[in-house]
């Protein structure tokens, strides 16, 4: 059960999060120079093709929840790459000497304007890339823009505060090794066997601050599932946090540091598998970007917990009992589904629970984003925009007639709960791991 007092305290803490950020001051010329340096360093062949290919058809606007819900053309996804396009045009493209005569240099004022466009109003959900007839990977371009703005000292205060904390102390929202130890001690007191800091293990299980502070049932369920499968597994106090505020804020040095920390722990214990908890962006941070951060292929497999559970169910190693004839639907977190391919596994687990499963429309890779991913949930000034995007999500869920929506991403879950609280939305919000953990069959 979720402690709603903790949820409210968490929401209250977020409203003051920005006050903890140490502002990054620098002259405007330096901001522009730094942003451009990042953009130029990140423009590779695929991105150059993307930047040259846009035919300005505007289809991407139809795919974006922020544009669809507001009708404001400034949120058109391809427009979010305009500064990148200009830097490319003036500095890299074939006609750069000619284009410099017609296209202006980017300015610090534009970088400030773009802060809202690439942080507040883009969850990097990637839905626009599916609408694009040219196949432009707009989400990747937006992430490069975040990195450029981060280099220019223009990360929104809330993300900056958490990024600075994770960089300086290695903790997120004040949760470090000691807080993990405390949370696991409570689990042990309830009779659970929870391995921590085993020197060797086949499976390294990560967790995240949200599960330690708020979604403790997800943490408990994960422990139960791992124990039920009889795996040789452990948490590691030196590398448990999967959340990566380097990735979310656009600070690659921190992204690398946080990712390498996990990789080193996994290698140290000889892990063959690393399981990422219900935290959307943590999956791409390790699964897709991890090897680049390490500079070499990872010597272990990375699985999202929903992917892991689904595979164990599909293989017949994890038996579940009926969760009753409840009407359930599933929300695919963008980083897991659309950009991760984890679509079948969670559904396999839900079907094994013998519930009245109802697919939403659209679903899978075309699912609507909840509006809170990629750190948008933490941005106070984005609250109104986020809620508008959530209303679209709620309509999609309502159309299924489901009484409960299941997901496997803590950020989505927080955003759903927040949206629910603001609009008295009656649908129950559940975690896949919790649901599975609560319905393990009595015997294997």
């Amino acid at each position: 059960m979720i402690d709603y007092d903790v949820f409210r305290q968490f929401g209250e803490a977020i409203t003051h999060l920005g006050e903890m950020a140490r502002k990054v001051e620098m002259p405007d010329a330096e901001r522009v120079a730094r942003a451009k340096a990042v953009m130029l360093a990140k423009i590779d062949r695929p991105m150059a093709v993307d930047l040259e290919s846009c035919v300005k058809c505007g289809y991407c606007s139809e795919a974006c929840h922020f544009h669809v819900q507001t009708g404001d053309p400034k949120y058109t996804p391809t427009r979010k790459l305009d500064l990148l396009r200009r830097v490319y045009g003036r500095e890299v493209s074939l006609l750069r000497y000619v284009r410099r005569l017609f296209e202006r240099e980017i300015t610090a004022g534009e970088l400030r304007e773009w802060q809202e466009l690439v942080y507040d109003s883009c969850t990097e959900c990637g839905r626009c890339s599916y609408a694009c007839p040219m196949g432009i990977n707009i989400a990747r371009g937006v992430n490069v823009m975040r990195e450029a703005l981060a280099a220019a000292g223009l990360v929104p205060d809330e993300l900056l505060a958490v990024e600075q904390e994770q960089d300086a102390r290695g903790s997120v929202f004040g949760v470090g090794a000691r807080e993990l130890q405390g949370a696991l001690d409570k689990l042990r007191a309830s009779g659970l066997d929870v391995p921590l800091d085993k020197p060797k293990a086949d499976v390294l299980v990560l967790t995240t601050v949200i599960d330690i502070l708020l979604f403790q049932d997800a943490l408990i369920a994960t422990v139960k599932i791992m124990n039920r499968l009889g795996l040789d597994w452990t948490f590691r106090s030196g590398g448990f946090e999967s959340a990566n505020f380097g990735l979310l804020s656009g600070v690659e040095d921190l992204q690398r540091k946080a990712t390498r920390n996990i990789i080193e722990e996994a290698i140290a214990i000889g892990a063959k598998t690393v399981i990422v908890p219900e935290c959307g962006h943590s999956y791409p941070a390790l699964r897709w970007d991890g090897a680049a951060m390490a500079g070499k292929p990872l010597p272990f497999e990375v699985l999202a917990v929903s992917e892991f559970i689904g595979r164990e169910v599909q293989a017949g190693r994890l038996k579940l009992k009926s969760a009753g004839a409840r009407k359930l639907t599933y929300h695919d977190a963008c980083k897991l589904g659309r950009h991760g391919g984890i679509l079948d596994e969670p559904r396999a687990a839900l079907r094994a629970l013998d519930v009245d499963f109802r697919e939403s429309s659209p679903s899978g890779e075309m699912n609507w984003c909840c509006g809170g991913g990629a750190g948008v949930f933490l941005l106070n000034r984005a609250a109104g925009l986020r809620q508008k995007a959530f209303e679209l999500k709620a309509q999609q869920i309502d159309a299924t007639g489901a009484e409960s929506v299941v997901m496997s991403c803590g950020s989505c879950r927080l955003n759903f709960m927040n949206g629910q609280a603001q609009s008295n939305w009656p649908v129950k919000v559940e975690s896949l791991v919790e649901l599975v953990g609560a319905n393990l069959a009595d015997s294997l």
Binding site: I43, D44, R45, P46, A48, V49, E52, S53, C54, V55, K56, G58, Y59, S61, E62, A63, H67, V68, G71, P73, K74, T76, T78, R79, V92, S93, L94, L95, F102, S129, Y130, A131, C132, P133, M134, G135, I136, N137, R287, W288, D289, G290, A291, A292, A294, G295, P297, L298, E301, G337, R338, H339, G340, G341, L343, S361, P362, G364, E365, M366
Partner: protein, 219 residues
């Protein structure tokens, strides 16, 4: 040298050369930028297949999006198909290609061509209307988008002015020269503006297909 001789001679050769060299140069400029290898383990096999498939599947509107106005979806099909039919199905164009390149194929009936040309011109006008009035398109459009529209429209308009001319030559030399000149403008501009999308759609779609395919997602 008359205007027609100029258009048929050095300007034609020049525009074709600019087109061919420009396209090759632009593609080479993109290729030489390079990329880092993706060191992550693929989640699914068949990346190459996904890349090829996506080049074709992106020709169709994808289910799952909010339905736009039907005209917005249908209109680009009309002018893309119309342009292809007119360029490669009209007898005088095939004759022209036979003379300059030595290749030919059966032509479509003139009536079909006139219908295609009419539909394409109307369709391009509607596309311009959308670009000038739709808030999203107005905001994201640049001078290059409008110029591309002009250089696409000019060969159609100058070509329609030749419909009444006798087949096999002997008609108004100035009208024919203007038609050729408009085509030469299109060819010469092609590598440097958005018209290049007629080639870039292949690598663009292929790379998103490969990117998503190795993650096991249907692109």
């Amino acid at each position: 040298m008359s205007l027609l001789e100029l258009a048929r001679g050095p300007l034609w050769t020049g525009s074709v050369a600019v087109f061919a060299l420009g396209v090759a140069w632009r593609l080479f400029a993109l290729w030489r930028i390079g990329r880092k290898p993706d060191l992550s383990a693929p989640r699914a096999a068949g990346t190459a297949g996904a890349a090829v498939r996506t080049v074709f599947t992106r020709m169709l509107p994808r289910p799952g999006f909010r339905p736009s106005a039907t005209l917005v979806t249908v209109n680009p099909y009309i002018y893309h198909l119309g342009l292809a039919l007119i360029a490669f199905g009209y007898l005088p164009h095939i004759e022209f290609l036979r003379r300059v390149a030595g290749v030919s194929w059966p032509a479509l009936p003139n009536a079909v061509m006139y219908l295609a040309a009419g539909a394409t011109i109307v369709s391009l006008c509607i596309a311009l209307l959308f670009r000038l009035t739709d808030p999203v398109l107005k905001l994201i459009s640049t001078a290059g988008d409008y110029f591309a529209w002009v250089v696409t429209m000019l060969p159609l308009v100058t070509g329609m002015a030749l419909i009444a001319e006798p087949a096999g030559g002997g008609g108004d030399a100035v009208r024919l020269a203007l038609h050729l000149l408009s085509l030469e403008l299109l060819l010469a501009w092609f590598p440097f503006g958005k018209l290049m999308h007629a080639i870039l759609f292949v690598p663009g779609r292929a790379q998103i297909g490969a990117f998503l395919g190795r993650r096991g997602v249907r692109a």
